[in-house]
């Protein structure tokens, strides 16, 4: 990779998510050379992906060009690249655009969907971790209704209008709520010749409550909201298999559906070279000490979802969400500069700023360390916080306009099938066959 060697130490960051960006911002103007690698040229604001899938927002509004975020940083280099392997012994990484030496390597690759080894579910279900995945889901939902119009077989038509969301974490809850609002506000107008009452939205949760990571109060509140919106909540039910039409569970409940969205788990997006089992914690995360150093390696750090830093309060590591990632990125930035100056690093301490989820208009639940609340005010807090953390003035304006519009008009206008998903899937299948045969 043709990146000039300077007298400054080179810090290579893999991943432009919350963790990687907040780290880069700490380092960008200091006497270090920062090389940020990502397989996308944009930063994605993942908490709002579900609104892209449901036509509430346009993808460009929740993504932001990485080059622009850091354009004022003199010693900063971005490369659009996929990292293939880490070679700790030679302080080198190999990527699809060549090798690169590092002095300090920071792994901020985040997380990916965890199918717990079920290949069939993986092959047939939808995910929502990236913008392309969210656009695919948006297309599929709309394609299903267009197809339902043409289908005279009542069972197949119902399957096309039946949505199963597996996993009642924030993603699952927010997506279920959004779909319920679409069913109520948009589908009857868009598809007058379909019996929209038959549209059914199912939220399936393995444990005994939704939003298990939040307070009992929040879980109860969110579940009440979901019931109000007509979402079928299935607790203590685990989807065990899905062939693209029938989803079976550990109970006698099963679902005939053309659309199963898998939001039941995430795992660290580990890169080849470091997967030695002994340094992987639960959920494929890299064990790090309180300085985010990957255990057993020199000059290699991990931050955000991929990092598992345990203490008495977090025996399984910090929650895999934006806040710990941002805080670890900032902290590691300061620590690296200390280390380079020959000072000692300071251990990371997570400041829990609380968590929140929205179910629909005027419906949200907020857990703050101090107090917990729900309803209209919580919903406004949710919107304000998300607008605040969005990167870029234009994005904030456009998202704000869309939210006001959607609120006033009970509408979601970005419901365009811009890249048909079913067609794309066919292309990919063809490609896979091709690769196998060749």
């Amino acid at each position: 990779m043709n990146i000039p060697r300077t007298s400054f130490p080179r810090i290579v960051i893999i991943g432009g998510g919350f963790a990687g960006i907040s780290l880069a911002k700490q380092l960008g103007k200091k006497e270090v050379q920062v090389v940020l690698l990502d397989k996308h040229n944009y930063h994605t604001f993942q908490p709002l992906l579900y609104q892209v899938s449901t036509g509430g927002l346009e993808p460009d509004s929740i993504a932001y060009p990485i080059r622009k975020i850091l354009k004022d940083y003199p010693n900063f280099f971005f490369r659009l690249a996929e990292v293939e392997e880490i070679h700790p012994e030679s302080f080198t990484i190999s990527t699809n655009i060549g090798d690169l030496k590092y002095d300090h390597l920071v792994i901020a690759t985040g997380s990916k969907t965890n199918f717990f080894g079920n290949k069939k579910i993986q092959a047939n279900s939808m995910q929502m971790k990236t913008i392309p995945q969210s656009l695919n889901l948006r297309s599929l939902i709309l394609e299903n209704f267009e197809e339902a119009l043409l289908n005279d077989d009542l069972n197949e038509r119902d399957a096309l209008m039946n949505f199963v969301i597996v996993g009642a974490g924030p993603t699952g809850v927010e997506l279920a709520g959004a779909l319920a609002e679409i069913k109520k506000g948009i589908l009857p107008k868009d598809y007058p010749d379909l019996d929209i009452r038959r549209v059914s939205i199912n939220l399936v949760q393995g444990s005994d409550r939704v939003l298990p990571a939040m307070s009992e109060k929040a879980s109860q509140g969110a579940e009440d909201y979901l019931q109000e919106l007509g979402v079928h909540v299935w607790k203590n039910v685990r989807v065990e298999d899905y062939d693209g039409h029938l989803a079976t569970t550990n109970t006698d409940i099963s679902f005939e559906t053309a659309t199963l969205i898998w939001a039941a788990g995430v795992q660290g997006a580990v890169i080849k070279g470091l997967e030695a089992k002994d340094l992987l914690a639960r959920g494929n995360r890299l064990c790090v000490n309180s300085f985010n150093e990957v255990q057993g390696y020199e000059g290699i750090y991990a931050i955000g979802d991929i990092a598992c830093m345990t203490d008495e309060q977090f025996p399984d590591g910090h929650p895999m969400m934006a806040q710990p990632a941002i805080q670890q990125g900032t902290q590691l930035g300061k620590n690296l500069l200390r280390k380079i100056d020959g000072k000692t690093m300071k251990p990371f301490k997570y400041k829990d700023k609380g968590s929140m989820a929205t179910v629909g208009r005027n419906k949200a639940v907020v857990d703050l360390p101090s107090f917990k609340f729900q309803g209209v005010f919580a919903w406004f807090v949710w919107m304000f916080v998300h607008l605040f953390f969005l990167i870029g003035f234009r994005n904030r304006m456009v998202v704000f306009i869309n939210w006001v519009y959607n609120y006033v008009r009970f509408d979601r206008e970005a419901r365009l099938i811009i890249r048909p998903y079913k067609h794309k899937k066919m292309l990919q299948k063809v490609e896979q066959r091709q690769q196998v045969s060749s």
Copy 2:
């Protein structure tokens, strides 16, 4: 196709462009059954596609769900379908979702890019007639710069930063201007380690002036603006071949470029069943009489780009742009209702409302029937008119916000490679091979 037969006469419209939509709006609330077919579920505002390609606007802002446009029309049916053939003898059309009988058939399929039979140019160049095509171009432009960063071969790097736009109609001129502004305002910040001075934007025009359809004054003004922006304008030059790297012309001028955008011609998007040569005018358009009836057929009409209605003022038919399409759609709507009521139809008369093109900030040319003007005021007129014709309040708001932002910040933020074009092209090639082999 399962569309209920009613006592109302059935009018089938093929195409949801300017012509098809304005016709549907005339008919939607009358005692007729309207079936609108389109291969996309959205209407595209084509005049702004070039801003999608250049990151100034998000695709969803210039497209609009067809179902929403016509949701209040009781006798209106939309189907997402590709029409395969017209069978005039049986008053039937066959589509990829089944056959459909019609009482009146209106062909509003618009136009597609015309490569004048050059397969090699078609295979290697970019077009900009649809949203997916515009997104592909956006991705390719950005991918080229990411690739240029990695390429040490100076010639190849220049080819990646060299853009050739063939055809200096409004599309070509507006795209060239936008690229020039990106070169000036964005690339130096985004790619500090590239020598952006080497980026070259070439506009190639076969005739002796740009915007040949507009006034001499407008042509001169637009060319001056392009020069100011550093666009290389090549007049009386015709690109004759392009292999994906080298573009050769009828002169000794040739271009080494990785990106050739073909905006040199359009042709009617004719459907099988009516192509009998005698009813096709120049540019593959269907000859229609002053009532938009396709000559030699009963109950078949054509409007918009696909229709060629000639008179002394327009010996080659009306210009292939939005205004004639909208006016013909409205007029045919009224005429069809007259015909159904047993009244006589009124001949179409085109009201020329003028034409305009923008080259960049504060730079536009406007030809009105009464007078012609250019500069800042023309530019504001251009923006106002385009905002006015955009469908949907939300779209207008979002586009307006983006324009204000881009104007104040000299920026274009929607520069995300959301679906890598080069990868997609690979998939398609694989698919083609597959189809051939099977």
